[in-house]
């Protein structure tokens, strides 16, 4: 049951031998550019393999954009980038129908969203209308222009970045839209040795210039399909359910995570299991991903916000209360 669920049909893999060297190669490739952030890369790759979207929220200059670009370059697919500004219009994203005088009809000219990897930079600077245009694309994987639906090519991966400071003149993403992101992650400053290494590596040229793709789009899609088949024990499923349920009951939470949050956590955990060369999901995988997947879905009560409580702390506390299934349940 486990072996048949092993991802990556290109390479045969045995659970004990564990083996999807493709992920190792992918991670090594990205790590050439982002040094010393293996966990972050692992997390973001989980989202990629679980067909989720990622919101990277961190200070300027920690490598949000570079990470997204490196990821895009590692997959041999089309990569586009949208820099959001307040005057960015929805049609700038989705594309417009323009009149073709030769053919005497409207012709659709696709926008940047028709790509495999899309980087939406500083998403909170776009107006809510434009943000809503992304919303449809993210959920439906299609775009409607002039009443015509246009399908977005597969695979489609969206990385949005936003900047937690300089909030003036920005439009924070509404809760409904935040919920559609599988994860919200922060990159954080590099460790001191990594920072020195980074400076050394980038003394002359940025290593991203030499980045070569390690997998193509089709391979990625197959892998994504395979990841969904990773085995997950019922007790781990109920562990996920309890975590999500506890976020709803937490005293500081006005609203906890949505059922979509539970689903995202499940898929992301499956992907992380695959990345860590396991043929099944363990509670460790769930625990690792609970914070990036759930923290942005927890809406903290206003009173608690004054005390400095945020979604991250709620999830941390929940993880410290929910019991990990170790013993067998009696039947």
């Amino acid at each position: 049951m486990a072996t048949e669920g092993t991802p990556g049909q290109a390479e045969p893999a045995h659970p004990a031998a564990g083996g999807l060297p493709i992920f190792t190669r992918l991670m090594d490739n990205i790590e050439k550019v982002i040094l010393g952030k293996r966990e972050v890369i692992e997390t973001i790759l989980s989202a990629l393999l679980a067909r989720g979207y990622v919101l990277v929220e961190d200070l300027p200059g920690v490598g949000k954009t570079i990470l997204a670009r490196a990821l895009a370059l590692s997959i041999q697919g089309q990569y586009r980038r949208v820099q959001c500004t307040p005057d960015l219009l929805p049609s700038d994203v989705t594309g417009v129908s323009i009149w073709d005088p030769k053919e005497m009809q409207f012709k659709f000219r696709p926008g940047p969203i028709f790509t495999n990897v899309l980087l939406v930079d500083e998403v909170n600077r776009a107006t809510p209308r434009t943000q809503a245009a992304f919303l449809e694309a993210m959920e439906e994987r299609q775009v409607s222009v002039d009443g015509h639906p246009y399908a977005i090519p597969k695979p489609f991966f969206l990385i949005a970045t936003q900047n937690p400071i300089e909030m003036a003149g920005t439009f924070p993403l509404p809760e409904a839209q935040l919920d559609r992101f599988m994860m919200r992650i922060a990159i954080g400053y590099p460790a001191s040795t990594d920072e020195v290494n980074m400076m050394r590596a980038q003394r002359e040229l940025h290593p991203i210039r030499f980045l070569k793709p390690v997998m193509d789009a089709e391979h990625l899609m197959k892998t994504q399909d395979a990841v969904r088949k990773i085995f997950i024990h019922d007790s781990v499923l109920s562990y996920i359910q309890r975590i999500v349920d506890e976020t709803r009951r937490h005293p500081h939470a006005a609203f906890g995570s949505s059922p979509r949050g539970a689903l995202h956590l499940l898929h992301a955990s499956q992907a992380l299991a695959a990345i860590r060369r396991k043929s099944f999901v363990t509670p460790d995988h769930v625990k690792t991903l609970a914070e990036p997947v759930l923290a942005h879905r927890v809406l903290v009560k206003p009173h608690s916000r004054v005390q400095g409580v945020d979604g991250k702390r709620v999830v941390e506390e929940v993880l410290r209360t929910v019991e990990v299934p170790v013993d067998f349940e009696p039947r």
């Binding site: 500004t85 005057d87 003036a168 003149g169 005293p251 206003p302 608690s304 004054v306």
Partner: protein, 428 residues
């Protein structure tokens, strides 16, 4: 409940006496009775400890409340033990209430691996300030009620009590600005920018991101968007924390008047939907940036109840320093703690505010009428003269103002119909 057993002392004395009698008269039954009692006591000690095994308590309480509020404090009792818990007493100390300890009883059964939320109602009976809630202690009696074992959960929750607020009639909301001037940054954020108000001509200094391109294209000259949000009234409270304004003790002190009146002013601004901010300079600088919602009010109140009059900067200096950051159309309330100030400087500051299209309002607490703290008392005649001079200055400037003295409580002052309505009338 008293943790002292009413029977223990009495019956122990009886048992000791019985034992002595038994020894004296050679009656083994009496000695047996004494021995049995000792055994019961020992069992009681054991049983009471045993009743607490595996129990965990946790308190859930909001971080703040207003004076006189009745609030519910939840005590979550969780049983991790192997047996059901019964007759467990959870007692908690609610610092902001008059009752020292509040106790709730879980009569049970609370089965293993279950939790129950017990709640008690607490009345915020104390004055504004910082209090603690806790520690929570769990206790259990033995079945005979002889021994009480308790375990304390050493967690204290901070709890802030805000002064009771009154809405001030005269603080009008008409002070919003007509348009946004180029040096102001737009406040449009949080999705509210969709309340589009219109466009106006581009002026030098306007943010390029605010240019409305469709209108520009139609009109041929650059146009700038305006949002409802930017016309929203802004409100700022300047609080005087200069140490020279200290006077009086306890409820009859200038600090009390400052905090109570300040809280009501902030509350009114919040109720009217103003974008409010608080600026003060005591031993540290207090700057609550402009904001609007309940959380923001709580933040401002949080700062307000912690202020101490230990500053060395005059309020006028603070106002001058912040003047140019105030958006035009702001209502600025100056809460002065000391009427003994340089009146020329005051009129300059107020006129300066007006020059920036800020509407100034002044509340002055007449410190000289309060019992002095760290200075010699001012003669009555001098105090009256100073007060009259201040009043005259405010009348001359035509600034809506109120001078508050100790003859009125802050509540009475706030309920006055002419509070902050007109320039102050003649001294009573």
């Amino acid at each position: 409940m008293d943790t002292y057993s009413p029977w223990r002392g009495f019956l122990t004395a009886v048992a000791v006496l019985a034992g002595l009698l038994g020894f004296a008269s050679g009656a083994p039954a009496l000695v047996g009775f004494a021995f049995g009692w000792a055994l019961l006591m020992a069992l009681g000690v054991f049983a009471s400890r045993f009743g607490l095994v595996g129990l965990v308590g946790q308190r859930r309480i909001g971080p703040n409340a207003f004076e006189g509020d009745l609030l519910t404090v939840d005590v979550v009792l969780e049983n991790y033990g192997r047996r059901a818990a019964r007759f467990v007493v959870a007692s908690d100390t609610f610092g902001a209430g008059l009752a020292d300890r509040q106790s709730v009883l879980e009569a049970g059964p609370l089965p293993s691996m279950h939790r129950r939320v017990l709640s008690y109602r607490a009345f915020v009976a104390r004055q504004w300030g910082l209090y603690t809630v806790g520690p929570l202690s769990l206790g259990a009696w033995d079945p005979l009620g002889l021994v009480y074992a308790s375990r304390e959960i050493p967690r204290l929750d901070p709890f802030e009590v805000f002064p009771r607020t009154h809405e001030i009639e005269s603080l009008s909301t008409q002070a919003g600005r007509a348009t946004i001037s180029p040096r102001d940054s737009t406040a449009a954020a949080a999705g509210q920018s969709l309340l589009f108000r219109g466009v106006r001509d581009f002026e030098a200094g306007d943010d390029v991101r605010r240019i409305h391109w469709p209108a520009t294209a139609r009109r041929g000259s650059p146009m700038v968007r305006e949002f409802e949000r930017d016309q929203q009234p802004a409100f700022v409270l300047f609080l005087d924390l200069d140490r020279r304004g200290r006077a009086g003790i306890g409820r009859n002190s200038t600090l009390e008047y400052l905090v109570r009146i300040g809280a009501s002013i902030l509350w009114t601004a919040y109720r009217r939907g103003d974008v409010l901010s608080l600026v003060a300079e005591g031993e540290r600088e207090i700057m609550v940036p402009p904001g609007q919602d309940e959380t923001h009010l709580a933040t401002a109140m949080h700062e307000l109840v912690r202020v101490r009059q230990r500053g060395t900067t005059s309020l006028l200096t603070v106002v001058d320093r912040h003047r140019e950051w105030l958006p035009s159309g702001t209502t600025a309330v100056l809460l002065l703690a000391n009427p003994d100030i340089d009146l020329d400087a005051l009129s300059q500051t107020l006129q300066g505010l007006r020059a920036f299209a800020v509407r100034p309002l002044v509340v002055a607490v007449d410190t000289l009428q309060f019992p002095p703290v760290d200075r010699p008392p001012t003669p009555v005649a001098v105090a009256r003269e100073r007060r009259e001079a201040l009043r005259q200055c405010l009348v001359d400037l035509d600034v809506a103002a109120t001078i508050v003295g100790p003859d009125e409580t802050p509540e009475e002052t706030l309920k006055r119909t002419d509070f902050l309505k007109n320039p102050p009338g003649a001294a009573s």
